[in-house]
């Protein structure tokens, strides 16, 4: 069991997980989001090689209507 902070919420997972797999779990395509991992922005091609560990802080943002 590991704990992450994602978008300000505490999330429990069975263990370390690749960012791509985590997005899969959420059921979203990388295309629609941007990700910050421990304060670093992750370019899309780095998703498959980025592993989320216990205590990591993740921000996942998407586009919404705005002016």
């Amino acid at each position: 069991m590991i704990g992450l902070q994602v978008n300000g919420k505490l999330i429990e997972l069975d263990g370390p997980i690749l960012l791509t797999d985590y997005l899969d779990k959420l059921g979203i395509t990388p295309r629609g989001v941007a990700v910050e991992h421990n304060g670093m922005i992750i370019e899309r091609d780095a998703y498959p090689t980025t592993t989320l560990h216990d205590g990591d802080v993740v921000e996942i943002v998407r586009m919404v209507g705005g002016g």
């Binding site: 919420k9 629609g32 943002v61 998407r62 919404v64 209507g65």
Partner: protein, 264 residues
């Protein structure tokens, strides 16, 4: 007018845009009315914001799914950012999505009137321009600030007419006039436009474009209002090119003053 349209292009950062009306995508009653408004507005450049994914409903459709992006050009904004650091971070996140390296820079510490911070905007603009962003900064109608931003290399300046969402029109008209007079990059009047007459007036002053959101989204009929404001923008631009008559303190008869027939 063909002839006019043919010669009168708006070019920002080397990109030719088909419309001088930019439209925001916030505050519409629903997606359908937003799409109708986008269509009716004839706009090409469309602003969007970045927000956290909702982990309780991650699959919810986003604006990326709703709008046909083959027909519109996306302009991410940094709305919600209160400092240069926050705005720079959001700009980088937006660019990392690979949709655009343009950013509408908003650094707004003030929740009540949503006026931007001139100093933080300059700090953010310097860094983002260095990083290769095409920066479109939202600013108060301050001619010196506008000049400094274009010297930094922003691709437009976007002075406000009145507070965001207030619909008060061009309260800052005289300073916008000066910004236009001195500008070497396109001037986009952003915020405050409430009706076509406001948009037309901005264009008559020589603004290169206007950005509108609330006036369309909050109209009783957003689609028709989008069409109305499109008409105002085009009318104002044509008038600017056509060269308006001078204002006069006195009257000047429209009918001949000679040859008048009177009772004998």
């Amino acid at each position: 007018m063909q002839t006019v349209a043919a010669v009168d292009k708006l070019v920002i950062a080397g990109v030719e845009l088909r419309s001088r009306l930019f439209l925001g995508t916030g505050k519409y009653p629903d997606d359908a009315s937003m799409l109708t408004a986008l269509e009716a507005s004839g706009c090409e450049l469309v602003t969007v914001a970045l927000r956290r994914l909702d982990l309780d409903d991650p699959k919810k459709k986003t604006i990326l799914d709703v709008i046909d992006w083959k027909r519109y050009r996306i302009l991410p904004n940094t709305a919600g950012c209160r400092t240069a650091d926050e705005a720079i971070r959001i700009a980088r996140l937006a660019r990392s999505m690979g949709l655009s390296d343009w950013v509408k820079l908003e650094v707004i510490p003030d929740p009540r009137y949503l006026f931007p911070d001139p100093e933080e905007t300059l700090i953010a603009a310097r860094i983002l321009v260095d990083e290769g962003f095409k920066v479109l900064p939202y600013i108060n109608a301050d001619p010196v600030l506008a000049r400094k931003l274009q010297e930094i290399g922003t691709v437009t300046v976007m002075p406000l007419g009145s507070p965001i969402g207030s619909g008060q029109g061009l309260q800052t008209l005289e300073q916008i006039r000066i910004i236009i007079d001195e500008a070497s990059v396109p001037v986009v009047v952003d915020a405050g436009i409430g009706a076509p007459s406001d948009a037309a007036l901005a264009m008559e002053l020589g603004a290169d474009a206007v950005l509108v959101n609330s006036a369309v989204a909050l109209a009783r009929d957003p689609g028709l209002m989008a069409e109305a404001i499109k008409g105002g923008v085009e009318a104002g631009r044509k008038a600017y090119i056509a060269g308006r008559m001078p204002r006069r303190g006195h009257a000047s008869a429209s009918s001949p003053t000679e040859g008048i027939s009177r009772p004998n």
